[in-house]
Each structure stands twice: as C-alpha cells, then as structure tokens.
C-alpha cells in the first residue's frame, strides 16, 4: 500500500540468502558498508537460525535515501546463494523485482516466476576456473557476487577497494586477489546484462558523521566508559556479544600500562543466578558491576533482583530480549520481557527500566544506568533486543563529556561516619527522597557496619517482623520510586505541544518504523502525535501525553501488549483508549504494518 511512494534511487531492499558458516558475512558487510561510504543511509539486518553451521541465514540491507532505518517488507533484489531456501527465496521477491543466482547449473523449472527478473552469474564455474584451493573457491564466490552487485547497483569500485584495504591491513597480500574476485563478477555483468538496475545507488552526503555499529558493542563500550570493573555473565544469545565487546574494549583500554595488570575482572559464571549474584556482591562492595542476559536469564535472576530491590543494592542488568516464552525463538527479536523486568521477583517490586533505541543510546544509557543504580541504590535493567543488539545500526557518533563525573550516590566516607552527630541508620530516609545512606565494608573500624538482608528490617538494618516497620519501609521504597521518576531519561516527543487527538507511544527498536509510519500517516492526511518512552517508572510527562489524547496507539513487539499493560496499570488509565498495535512474529516491526493497523482501527472506530 505504501511501497508505491518509493523512488528508485537509494530506496530498495536487497536480501542475501546464505548458508550459515560459509564466510558470506564479511562479503555482505562489505556490500552494506560500501553504500554507507557513498553517503547513503542503510539498515542491515541478520536473520539467522539458532545453529552454527549448515542452516539458512539471511542478511537484509535496506537502502533509504530518507534515512528510514526500520525493516521494510518486500524484497527488490534477492541474492540467492542457498539452494536449500531457494523456493522460499523466489517467492519472497516482490513482483517486478530481481532474483540473482548462481547459474553454473540451470534453475529448476519450478523456481521460474513470470513476474520477476532473473540475473544468473555462473559463480561456481568462474571460481573453479580461477582458483585451485577449495576454501578459496568458496570464499571468493562471495566476493565475486559483491562485484557483480556493484555493477548492477552502481556501487563505486574505489569505495570497495578502500574497504578491502582497510579490512586486510597488515595482510596486504590478500587485497589483490579480492579485487580480482570483484572484477570477475563485475566483468561478467558488464558482458551479459544491461546495468545499472532501475533501482540503484547514487552518491549522497546523507550520513554525515554517523557510525555503523551493533547495540551490544555500543553497550559494552558504554560499560567501559561508565567505569564498570566487575563483569559476570552466562552465555546466551543475543546478549553474549555484549560481554565479549566489553572484554575486547577493556583489554585495549583498561590494562595498566606499567604493571600490565587488569583494571577489571570478568567471570563467566556457572549460570545466571550466579552471574547476577556476583554483580550484586561487587556493587555491594562499591565496584560498578553488571551482567547481561536475555529472557530465560531474567527468569533465573528474579529472586536476586528482589533481594537487590529490597536490600537496596545497586546493580545493572542488560536484557537483550528475544522471542519467548521459554527457549522460544532464540535468534528472533521481540520486546516481550517488559513486564517480567518491571516487576521482576516475587512480592511487591518495581524495577527501574531503560529503553535505548540506537547504539548511541545503548552507550549513553549504560553510563546512565550505573549512575541511576548508585543514586537510587536499586537494580537498573536496560532492555534492548536482538534487532538492536546484534545488527549493525546507523547511529549518531558516541560522545563523552570529560567533565562528567560518575554519580556514586549516597556513600558515607570514614570522615563522615566519624563526624556524624546522630546515629546512622542504613535505611533511614534523612533527605525525604526515599534514598538512604549506605556504607561500604572496610570503611571505618567501629562505625557504619550493618547486616544486609532480604528479610524484613528496620531503619537500622535490624531484623524485624513488626508490621508497622515493614509497611514503613515498603512505603519508603515508593518514595524512592518517585525520586526515580525525576532522574530517569525523559520521554522524547516528535512535535511541539499537541497537534492531534491521536497519539502513538513506543519504545526501543519500534522507534524507526514508528517514525516512518508517522510520515506515512501524515502523507495520508492523518497526522499523529508521538511519544517515545525511554524509561520506567513513567513520569508526569508520560501521563500528561496520554491524558491529552483521545486515543493512544501503543506499538510494541509482543503478543500481550505488555507496555500498554504497564502504562494502564501504573498510570491508572482507562484501558479503552489505549489501542494495541502488536507485532510478535520475531521479525522487526515495519512502518507499513503500523500504518495499516492504525488506519484500520481509525476507519472502524
């Protein structure tokens, strides 16, 4: 419905169908990055199975002059390198689109569609002729198709060559054979087909100083900048690469140049219970510490998250969400841990959540998360997802203000303890903001020691089963939650004041498609107001936006409208004006889906 507005320059989707483990990833990245280097916005996405070798994987690159970074349905050019998925791949090409394949063997009759174009290049034949080594035949086949695509899509050869030179820095011998492979593909197209295609790339200056990086690497780097020094973790897709990134950056940036010793410690724990326990233990003892996991890990960590909430211990957790429940679709994306994170653990708990939507925000919010956790003495959970975490995302560059000081919160020093006029109580709310003062082990020989516990306690950390005391402490924790509302990142609005009776609300990776949808709806004469939530608990601005609009579409990537439930529940909103827009098939939500859902709902109202 909306794809007709597409222009043919710098506006198309290429999908690569590959076999897992055949070295296609670096060739595909070379392709994507060359377009980025030509100044044109791109949104690459991996679609991969929970498997190491042999199963189909796809890599999709959306090229968008307008800078739309969400997924778009409809494949303009399918690069088919996997016989196993070929039937499905042929079917997924939009009418009038192109199917690029290895023509060494003729295409099966049943794969021929009348309404699409076929571009055959005998990749295997070319490689068999040009290379002797079996591994080289396989690897260069990938580069040959990149060369062919470059001609078809008008990608500049100098850009590809520069990228290869950068890639093989220190191994310069490899550059020439790769360039040769590019040319083999390019020459074949030039001899046999007309080029470029009706859609192709044209150099622009649209990406400025933007960077291309995955959210997990950004968060790992953010943790280094935030001063995290103890990291514990248990491997789980899609969070594993976050800790790997932390480790790589720490090796580079956190080793004492004189002693060669590490200014950080990383422990691969035996499970997620232990991972969060270590992070809590380290934070209790005054080091900034975090762990990263995905949904199944959050389930396992919940008992400990309740302890940290109730005993008021800072800790940072990153949940890179994937499709649940249970093991679910471990390599597909979702936003389905919102409720289990917000209310993590038994009893009455409310956890502070952060919702980044770009790599830059992953970086920034990692630093914010540690400040918030220590200022509030409570867990802070950053909720990202597979789409943001594991895909390269176009992002504003990282920034660090050297004047920024870590906010370490209310921690008493030996002098402060020594000079205290009144008896110190670990859980006494002196300032009225619900946040008490804490002490670290080893600070003072006779003052400030206390017993941290998950059992009910009074203001002096002494065990108590007195109901009044219990209620007092539980209510004070709500005062603290109010303080949190003032400290967490504010929502982002995309209009000045109120422009429409219809509002849309979204978080995280829904943002790109939601904003594209705003443009689409506006073009259809239906302007909407929009609010991107960046944190929980929700503050007054969030409540006011919903109050101000007659109907509010809550767009999210789960089945049960978890964000909507949280809004309704926490802000006491009449649910009838909160309309669900839900995509939960494991693929990133698209603007077309959002626009058509909203239109359908508005026309049936």
């Amino acid at each position: 419905m909306f794809s007709s507005t597409m222009s043919s320059i710098n506006d198309f989707v290429v999908r690569f169908a590959n076999v897992n483990g055949t070295g296609s990833a670096s060739a595909n990245l070379l392709f994507a990055k060359s377009i980025f280097r030509m100044g044109v916005p791109i949104a690459p996405k991996n679609i991969f199975p929970s498997n190491i070798q042999g199963l189909p994987t796809w890599y999709e690159v959306r090229v968008s002059e307008k800078g739309y970074l969400g997924r778009r349905a409809g494949i303009d050019l399918m690069v088919s390198m996997n016989p196993q998925s070929m039937k499905k791949d042929v079917e997924s090409v939009r009418p009038g689109g192109y199917f690029f394949y290895d023509s060494t063997k003729p295409l099966q009759e049943s794969f021929i569609r009348e309404d699409i174009h076929y571009i055959g290049v005998p990749l295997m034949e070319i490689c068999n002729r040009e290379y002797t080594d079996a591994r080289q035949k396989q690897l260069f086949k990938n580069i040959v198709y990149v060369g062919a695509l470059a001609v078809l899509l008008s990608i500049e050869f100098e850009v590809l060559e520069t990228l290869l030179k950068e890639q093989f820095k220190g191994k310069e011998k490899l550059v020439a054979p790769n360039v040769k492979a590019l040319n083999l593909g390019a020459d074949y197209i030039r001899e046999h087909y007309s080029f470029p295609l009706d859609f192709h790339v044209e150099r622009r200056d649209l990406v400025g100083d933007m960077i291309l990086i995955d959210g997990n690497s950004a968060a790992g780097l953010g943790a280094v900048y935030a001063g995290a020094s103890v990291v514990s973790w248990y491997p789980i897709t899609p969070s594993t690469s976050l800790v790997s990134a932390f480790e790589e950056y720490a090796r580079e940036l956190r080793v004492d140049p004189v002693t060669g010793k590490n200014n950080y410690a990383i422990v691969q724990a035996e499970d997620e219970l232990s991972a969060i326990g270590m992070a809590i233990g380290a934070n209790w003892n005054g080091a900034r510490s975090f762990t990263a996991t995905s949904g199944p890990g959050v389930s396992l960590m919940s008992e400990f998250l309740g302890l940290a909430y109730y005993a008021e211990i800072p800790v940072v957790l990153v949940d890179v969400q994937r499709a649940g429940p249970s093991t679910g679709m471990p390599t597909r994306t979702q936003q389905s841990d919102i409720l289990s994170a917000a209310y993590a653990s038994h009893g009455d708990t409310k956890q502070v959540l952060l919702f980044p939507s770009t790599p830059k925000e992953c970086f920034d919010m990692m630093a914010d998360a540690f400040d918030l956790a220590e200022q509030l003495q409570t867990p802070v959970i950053m909720l990202t997802d597979l789409d943001l975490g594991m895909n390269d995302n176009l992002s504003a560059p990282f920034q660090w203000d050297d004047a920024r000081a870590y906010q370490r919160g209310k921690v008493l020093s030996a002098e402060e303890l020594e000079n205290a006029k009144t008896r110190w109580g670990r859980y006494l709310d002196i300032d009225g903001d619900g946040v008490p003062y804490r002490t670290l082990p080893g600070t003072h020989p006779t003052k400030g020691a206390y017993f941290t516990r998950g059992t009910s306690h009074d203001e002096y950390a002494v065990y108590s089963e007195d109901s009044d005391t219990y209620v007092r402490i539980m209510e004070r924790l709500l005062v603290k939650l109010n303080t949190a509302k003032k400290l967490v990142p504010a929502p982002e609005f995309y209009q000045d004041g109120k422009q429409s009776d219809t509002g849309i609300v979204f978080i995280g990776t829904t943002t790109h498609s939601a904003r594209e949808s705003l443009d689409q709806l506006k073009a259809q004469g239906i302007p909407c107001d929009a609010m991107r939530l960046r944190a929980f608990p929700f503050n007054e601005d969030v409540a006011a936006f919903i109050q101000d609009h007659d109907r509010v579409f809550v767009i999210e990537q789960n089945r049960d409208a978890q964000l909507r439930s949280l809004l309704v529940n926490e802000l006491d909103i009449n649910p009838s004006k909160m309309i669900k827009v839900l995509n939960f098939d494991g693929t990133p939500i698209t603007a077309d889906f959002i626009s058509s859902s909203i239109l359908k709902s508005l026309t049936t109202v």
Binding site: L221, Y225, S229, G286, F398, G442
Partner: protein
C-alpha cells in the same frame, strides 16, 4: 528479632595486639535453640578472629539462608554482613571479593544451603579458588524448615520421626578435594580446641578454604540413630592430629618431639603445627587423604582436623591478573578512557 548486646567493656578484659577485646568480635545475642552446634561455631569464630588480630571491619561475613546462615548476626558486629538468598552466598562472595581483594571474606552456610540448593555455586566457587573461608555448619538436616533430611544425611541415619535416610550422603570434603580445593578441613562444633586453630589457618590461607563442621541440630537431628547427633559424632570422631596455629611473629615453642609433628608455613608466614600425626596420611598429599577419607567412611569414623592443604594455591585474582589496587578503589581516570579515545573509536566505525 535480634537483640543488641550492651556495649559495656570491662577495663581489665584482655586485649589482643590491636588493642581489641574479645567483646569487640562478638555480635548480637543468638536466637538459635539453646545447645545448637551453630552457636559454638560462632564462638570459635570470635575466638579465632581475636587471636589472629584481624581488624573486625576488614572482614566481610556472608551467608545464605538457614539457621546456620543467621549466625553472622551473632559474631563480628563491627564487620559488614550479607545474609543473601538460599544457596547463593558463593556468588555474592565472589563479586564482593572481586571488588575488593583487601578484605577477609568469611562465608557461612548450612548443609542444605551448600549441598542441595546451592550445590552449583559451591562447586564453582571451589574450582575458582576464591580467596575466602567457607564454613559449612553441617547438621544433616534443614533446621530452619523444621528438620527435613539434607543431602549430607548419611544413608541409614535415623531421623527424629524414625525414618532411615534412603540416599547416599554427600561428603563435602571429599568433593571439594576432588574439585581442586586448596584447603580442606573437617571439625566438630564441640571441639573448640581443634576448630579455633583451623579457622585461623583457613583465614591465613591464600585461596579457597573449606571447613566442614559437624554441628548438631538439638531440635531436629540429635536423636538416637542419627549420625549427626552429639553423641554419635563424639563417639566416632577420629582426630587426625593435634593442631596449633602460630600467628606471624609469635614465638614457636615446642611440646612434642621432632618427628611427631609437621609444620606447615602459611603464605603470610604464620605456622600451622600438626602434632601426634597419623602416619598413614600427609596433609599435602592429595591421594593419601582421599584414601584416608574412604577408609574412615567404611569404618564409620569421622576424620577431623586439617585434611588437605595445597601451598602452591593460586587464588582467583592472580589467575585473572587483576591489579593490586582493589577494583572498588580505582579512580575515574583509571576507569574512563575519555573523549579523545572515543573519537578514535568513532572514526573506526565509519
């Protein structure tokens, strides 16, 4: 409820080298059952810390959940304590220790806490050789939940209700030795003369030090037929050697003839002296202790004393090559690489 003890100090109470009295190492009044073995272990911890001249605030005491795990409230009130969740003390201890290598970490757990729900964490903290003392107050039952069998109850041991335990008991000492523990001892809550020097030695050890202390539950597992009752443990206790701990700098005096004793010099220069040694075993020979433990089990004996020590122990911090400065004391300029470096990183991502 916890009761705070009056802070009245008698001027003539003896003081240790740091000027602290025993009272300075005590905690609040215990709420455990009168006669509970765990209280004797608390008293031994107080004594060991006093004799060892540790600064109370340089100790972090950690536990899980159970009657045993409550005891850190009953000793060292000038130390920070952390009563965590059931079976998960090892992870809290690991994180705390990674954050600050300069404190003494004293973990207290129960047999339920360590050998059932917390078995995973127990096993892994052993193999990481975390520098800590880990005391299991082992009563063969779940005291706090009213006496159910635990995984360390011996097969055939009779419960208070009269039932025999069906399953094989887990021997935490043998298991720890198998897993590569570098200090393993076993003792009895009723044998303070043995327990105190063992705790002192464990605190001086660089690496993971397990002391499995048989600690009868008077309320639920002290009946005839139980292999964890006071009577049974007293009758079947087979001490491997007399034991003295000589802190660094103290004069070494001899009561026994050469040949009848072994001296183990600890990392910090203190000396652990084992007297009247059982000659079939050498505390630095893993195979000999594994054999001795197997034999004792067949003979229904409970071997107590220092079972095994590896003086080449390499603790976790050394393995991870972390800096000497406790990580929680690193300054911002040591932690944050700054904006210049970030510009370089951005440039590499374009």
């Amino acid at each position: 409820m916890s009761y705070i003890k009056p802070k009245f100090h008698h001027p003539l109470l003896p003081k240790n080298k740091l000027g602290y009295t025993r009272k300075d190492y005590e905690g609040s009044i215990s709420t455990l059952c009168a006669g509970c073995g765990h209280d004797s272990i608390s008293a031994a911890i107080v004594e060991a810390c006093y004799e060892l001249n540790v600064e109370p605030h340089k100790v972090a005491k950690l536990s899980g959940i159970g009657c045993s795990s409550k005891t850190p409230a009953y000793f060292l009130s000038n130390s920070h304590g952390f009563n965590s969740v059931h079976g998960r003390m090892p992870s809290i201890a690991t994180g705390a220790n990674l954050a600050n290598c300069d404190l003494v970490y004293l973990g207290v757990s129960g047999d339920g806490d360590s050998a059932s729900i917390g078995m995973g964490q127990f096993v892994h903290v052993v193999r990481r050789n975390l520098n800590m003392v880990y005391i299991v107050m082992n009563n063969g039952c779940y005291g706090l939940t009213k006496g159910q069998d635990s995984a360390t109850a011996d097969r055939g041991s009779i419960s208070k209700g009269g039932d025999a335990t069906l399953f094989e008991g887990i021997d935490l000492c043998s298991l720890a030795i198998e897993l590569g523990a570098t200090f393993v001892a076993q003792s009895f809550s009723g044998d303070k003369a043995q327990l105190v020097p063992l705790i002192e030695a464990a605190m001086s050890h660089q690496g993971f030090a397990l002391i499995n202390v048989l600690s009868p539950c008077v309320t639920f597992n002290n009946n005839p037929g139980s292999t964890k009752s006071y009577e049974y443990v007293r009758e079947h206790n087979e001490a491997l050697a007399g034991i003295d701990f000589i802190p660094v700098g103290d004069e070494i005096t001899t009561n026994y003839n050469e040949g009848e004793r072994v001296e183990v010099t600890m990392h910090d220069g203190s000396v652990l002296r084992l007297n009247k040694l059982d000659h079939t075993w050498d505390p630095q020979d893993k195979l000999s202790i594994i054999a001795a433990l197997k034999k004792s089990q067949q003979a229904h004996e409970i071997l107590t004393g220092l079972l095994y020590i590896d003086r080449t122990s390499v603790p976790l911090h050394t393995m991870l090559n972390t800096t000497e400065t406790p990580l929680n004391q690193l300054k911002e300029d040591q932690l944050c690489p700054g904006s210049k470096v970030l510009e370089g990183i951005n440039a590499g991502l374009r």
